[in-house]
C-alpha cells in the first residue's frame, strides 16, 4: 500500500521532474557509456552494434524511470540490461559476421618493445589465457565484478543468485591466483 502511495505521488510529480530525470540519465550516460561499450565488445558485439546497443540501453533506462520504476542502483541496472540485450544482438549478428577482438594477437604483438615491457606483456598474455580458460559463468561474473557491480547486481544480470556469484568468483579468483603464483615463481 505504501509503495502504491509513493508511486501515485511520483506520477503527479512527473512533469516537474522530467528535466531532472533527463539530466540524470545524460550524466550516467556520459559516465558509463565507455564501460558498457567495452563490456559489450567482450560479449562479442561488433563495435558499431555495441555502440547502438549502449544508446538503446540508456534510452530504456530513461523510459523505465519515466514510468516510475524504482531503480535503486542505476549502474547495476544498466549492465544487467546491457548484458541481456547484448546477448540478443549478438545472436542476430552471429549469422552476419561474428566479431573477434583478437585480443590474444594484440596482447602478443610486442615487437620493438623494451625487455621490461615485454615481460609485462607476457604476464598479461598468460593472465588473459587464464581468463579465457574460465567457464563462461565465471568469466561473466569476473568481468561484471571488474566493472564495479556488486554480487546481487551481477546475479540479477546473469539470472543467478548472489551466492552463486560468490562461488563463481571464488573459483575464478582462486584459479587466477594460481596462475599468478606460477608466473611469479618464474
Amino acid at each position: 500500500m505504501l509503495s502504491i502511495g509513493l508511486q501515485l505521488v511520483t506520477v503527479f510529480r512527473l512533469d516537474r521532474t522530467a528535466t531532472a530525470l533527463q539530466n540524470r540519465v545524460t550524466e550516467l550516460f556520459e559516465e558509463s557509456r565507455e564501460d558498457v561499450f567495452r563490456y559489450l565488445l567482450t560479449l562479442g558485439l561488433r563495435p558499431s552494434r555495441a555502440q547502438e546497443t549502449v544508446q538503446e540501453v540508456f534510452l530504456r533506462l530513461y523510459a523505465s524511470l519515466q514510468k516510475g520504476e524504482d531503480i535503486q542502483n542505476p549502474r547495476g541496472w544498466i549492465f544487467r540490461v546491457a548484458h541481456n540485450y547484448g546477448l540478443k544482438v549478438r545472436a542476430r549478428q552471429a549469422a552476419e559476421d561474428p566479431f573477434d577482438a583478437g585480443m590474444e594477437l594484440q596482447l602478443a604483438s610486442h615487437a620493438d618493445t623494451p625487455e621490461q615491457e615485454l615481460l609485462e606483456q607476457e604476464r598479461v598474455l598468460q593472465f588473459h589465457r587464464a581468463v579465457e580458460g574460465l567457464s563462461e559463468q565465471q568469466r561473466r561474473c569476473l568481468l561484471l565484478r571488474m566493472e564495479g557491480l556488486r554480487y546481487p547486481e551481477i546475479g540479477s544480470a546473469l539470472g543467478i543468485s548472489a551466492s552463486a556469484v560468490g562461488e563463481f568468483l571464488r573459483r575464478a579468483v582462486v584459479r587466477l591466483k594460481k596462475v599468478r603464483a606460477v608466473e611469479g615463481s618464474k
Partner: protein, 550 residues
C-alpha cells in the same frame, strides 16, 4: 566464529569485496587481526584482484574505440516523453507496475474486502503482539552488561549498555543526530523497549508480516524479523531481529530516506549464540572488575591521539609493551587500557601509572583479579570477602589450579541448570493455565513431557552443584538460613519461582567464585547465602516437579 576456525577463501573474497553482512564481516576482521595465515591468504586474493584490474586496463587499451561520436540523447528523450504523453491518462499511469497490479486486483479486492482487511491487519497485530511478548521477556531477563556495536554508513562505535557509566553515553555527534532525527533511544538502541517506544510514537506506520530468518551470527538458529515502515518523514523504517529461542534482540536497523542507516548489533564473545541456549543466560563477566573512574573523566574533554601516545609511552616505561596482551584503544572519548590474561603484577603497575591520568580508563576483565584479592581503589569489601572464601576453598581443594577446575565445573553445571529453567519459563509463558486447559489430551501430554524432561535435567544439575559445593562450604561453616517456602498451586507460577531461585543461585555463585563483584556480603555470610540459595532452589524444583507429576 572462534579464532581457530579459519574462514574459507570464498568467505575471505566476500569479505574483501564488502559482501559479508555486518556481523559476519566483523567476525572475519577480528579473526584476521589474530591470524597471520588468513591474512596471508587475503593478501594473495587481493593480489589476484589487483592483477584483474591491471588486466582490465590492458585489455581496454587494445579494444577498438566507438566507430562514431556519441549522439545526443535529448532528442530521443523528447520522443519518449511525447509517446508517454500521447497515451490516455489511465493507460499512462497504469504503466506503473504497482498501480497496474492494484487496478487489476481491484475487483477481487472489493469482493474479498473483509478477508483482505483481516489479512492486512494481521501482521500489525502479530508484530505488536510479538513485541509485547518480547518486552515481557526483557523485563524479567537477568540484567547483564552487553556490548553493542553501533554502525552508520560512516562511523561505528562499540559501547557497553547497562553499566550505568555516564561516560558510556559518549557518541559521535553525527551518530547522535541520526538517532535524534529518528526519535530513537540512542542510550539503549538494541532493546525491545526502545523499539516499542519508537514504534508507538509513530503516527502512521505499517508492519510487514513477521517473518523468520536465520540468525546473522548463528545461521542454524532462527530469528523473528519485525519490520516497520513509515510513509512520511526522514525515516523509511526500522527492523528488529529477535531470537526465536528467547525473544532476545540480536540486531536492529534504522533506515533513512537519504539512504543513510544505523545498525546496532550485539557483540558476543565466544562461545557465540547457537547450538544450545545455555550460553545466553550466563552472565559472562564482561563488565570491568575495576570500576571505571568517572572522576578521571573531565566532562566535555575527550581523549585525543596525544593522550593515547602518552599512555603508550607510560606502558613502555614500565615494560608493559613487551609481550603482555595489553590493549590500548580510543573509545567513547577515553583511552581505554585493558586486556585479557595480563599478569596481576603488570595490571597493578599499569593502575599505579595510569589511574591518576585524565581521560584514561584502565579496565581488566580477568576474574582472577578478584580471586587474588587485588585491592584497587573502590573495590568492595565483598570482593575481599569472596577472595577470603576462595582462599579457604583453595586450601581445602589443594591449590589454585584445583580451585579453578572446581570453579569451572560448578559454573558449567549452573549454566545448564539456568538454560533448563529458562526453557521452562518460555513454556510457562506460552502456555498459561487458561491456554493449557484448552489443549487436548495429546497436546497436554506432550507439554508435560517436555516440562518433565527439562525438570529432570534441572534437578540433576542442582544436585551436581550441591554435591560439588556442600562439602567444601559446610566445612568452612556454611549453614542453611531461613528461606522462602516453595508455594504455588500451578506449575506455571511454580516455574517462575524456580527461575527466580536459579537466578539467585547464579548471582551468589558468581560472587563466591569471583567472576563478579558482590555488594554486601561478608566472608562468613557468603557461603551460607550460597547454600541457602541452593536449598531454596532445590525446594522449588521439588515442588514444581510434584505439580508436574500430579
Amino acid at each position: 566464529m572462534s579464532s581457530f576456525q579459519h574462514p574459507g577463501e570464498g568467505v575471505l573474497l566476500r569479505y574483501i569485496d564488502g559482501e559479508l553482512p555486518g556481523r559476519k564481516s566483523r567476525q572475519v576482521r577480528h579473526h584476521l587481526e589474530a591470524c597471520w595465515q588468513c591474512r596471508g591468504l587475503v593478501e594473495e586474493l587481493e593480489g589476484a584482484v589487483a592483477e584483474c584490474i591491471r588486466y582490465r586496463k590492458q585489455v581496454q587499451s587494445y579494444l577498438p574505440a566507438p566507430p562514431k561520436a556519441w549522439s545526443d540523447l535529448s532528442r530521443d528523450f523528447s520522443r519518449i516523453d511525447a509517446s508517454f504523453r500521447s497515451e490516455p491518462f489511465w493507460k499512462r499511469y497504469l504503466t506503473f507496475p504497482m498501480l497496474r497490479q492494484a487496478a487489476a486486483g481491484a475487483a477481487v479486492l472489493a469482493l474479498l474486502f473483509a478477508a483482505i482487511y483481516q489479512l492486512r491487519k494481521a501482521p500489525a497485530v502479530e508484530a505488536a503482539a510479538l513485541l509485547q511478548r518480547a518486552a515481557a521477556a526483557e523485563v524479567v531477563r537477568p540484567v547483564a552488561i552487553r556490548r553493542i556495536r553501533i554502525q552508520t554508513r560512516d562511523i561505528g562505535i562499540t559501547r557497553n549498555v547497562g553499566t550505568g557509566d555516564v561516560a558510556e553515553a559518549t557518541m559521535p555527534r553525527a551518530m547522535e543526530s541520526l538517532f535524534a532525527e529518528a526519535r530513537y533511544n540512542e542510550q539503549d538502541p538494541l532493546s525491545v523497549r526502545s523499539y516499542r517506544e519508537w514504534r508507538d510514537g509513530l503516527a502512521e506506520k505499517e508492519d510487514d508480516p513477521v517473518s523468520t530468518v536465520a540468525d546473522p551470527e548463528a545461521p542454524t538458529e532462527r530469528c523473528y524479523r519485525i519490520h516497520t515502515l513509515i510513509a512520511t518523514g526522514d525515516v523509511v523504517g526500522a527492523t528488529l531481529l529477535l531470537s526465536a529461542a528467547d525473544l532476545h534482540p540480536v540486531e536492529g536497523r534504522l533506515e533513512f530516506r537519504d539512504r543513510n542507516w544505523i545498525e546496532f548489533t550485539e557483540i558476543l564473545d565466544p562461545p557465540v549464540r547457537g547450538g544450545t541456549n545455555t550460553a545466553e543466560h550466563v552472565e559472562v563477566p564482561m563488565r570491568p572488575v575495576v570500576p571505571s573512574r568517572p572522576a578521571a573523566v573531565v566532562p566535555g574533554a575527550l581523549a585525543s591521539i596525544s593522550d593515547e601516545i602518552m599512555v603508550l609511552s607510560a606502558l613502555h616505561q614500565i615494560g608493559a609493551d613487551l609481550g603482555d596482551p595489553v590493549e590500548v584503544a580510543l573509545s567513547g572519548g577515553k583511552v581505554v587500557v585493558g586486556g585479557v590474561g595480563v599478569p596481576l603484577r603488570v595490571q597493578q603497575e599499569i593502575h599505579e601509572k595510569l589511574d591518576s591520568q585524565p581521560n584514561v580508563s584502565v579496565q581488566f576483565s580477568d576474574p582472577q583479579r578478584l580471586a587474588s584479592g587485588h585491592a584497587a581503589g573502590g573495590q568492595s569489601s565483598a570482593a575481599s570477602a569472596s577472595g577470603r572464601v576462595q582462599t579457604h576453598l583453595e586450601d581445602q581443594l589443594g591449590g589454585r589450579a584445583e580451585f579453578q577446575r572446581f570453579s569451572a565445573e560448578v559454573l558449567k553445571s549452573n549454566e545448564i541448570a539456568m538454560s533448563r529453567a529458562y526453557a521452562m519459563r518460555n513454556l510457562a509463558q506460552q502456555f498459561p493455565v487458561e491456554i493449557e486447559s484448552g489443549l487436548n489430551a495429546d497436546g497436554r501430554r506432550m507439554l508435560r513431557d517436555m516440562l518433565r524432561d527439562h525438570m529432570s535435567h534441572l534437578s540433576k544439575q542442582v544436585s551436581d552443584v550441591q554435591s560439588l559445593l556442600m562439602p567444601s562450604l559446610t566445612a568452612i561453616g556454611a549453614t542453611v538460613q531461613a528461606r522462602r517456602p516453595a508455594e504455588g498451586t500451578e506449575w506455571q507460577s511454580s516455574v517462575e519461582d524456580v527461575v527466580r531461585a536459579s537466578q539467585l543461585v547464579e548471582v551468589r555463585l558468581s560472587v563466591l567464585l569471583g567472576v563478579t563483584p558482590g555488594q554486601n556480603s561478608t566472608s562468613t555470610q557468603l557461603p551460607s547465602e550460597v547454600v541457602t540459595a541452593l536449598a531454596e532452589l532445590r525446594a522449588n524444583v521439588d515442588h514444581c516437579s510434584s505439580l508436574l507429576n500430579y
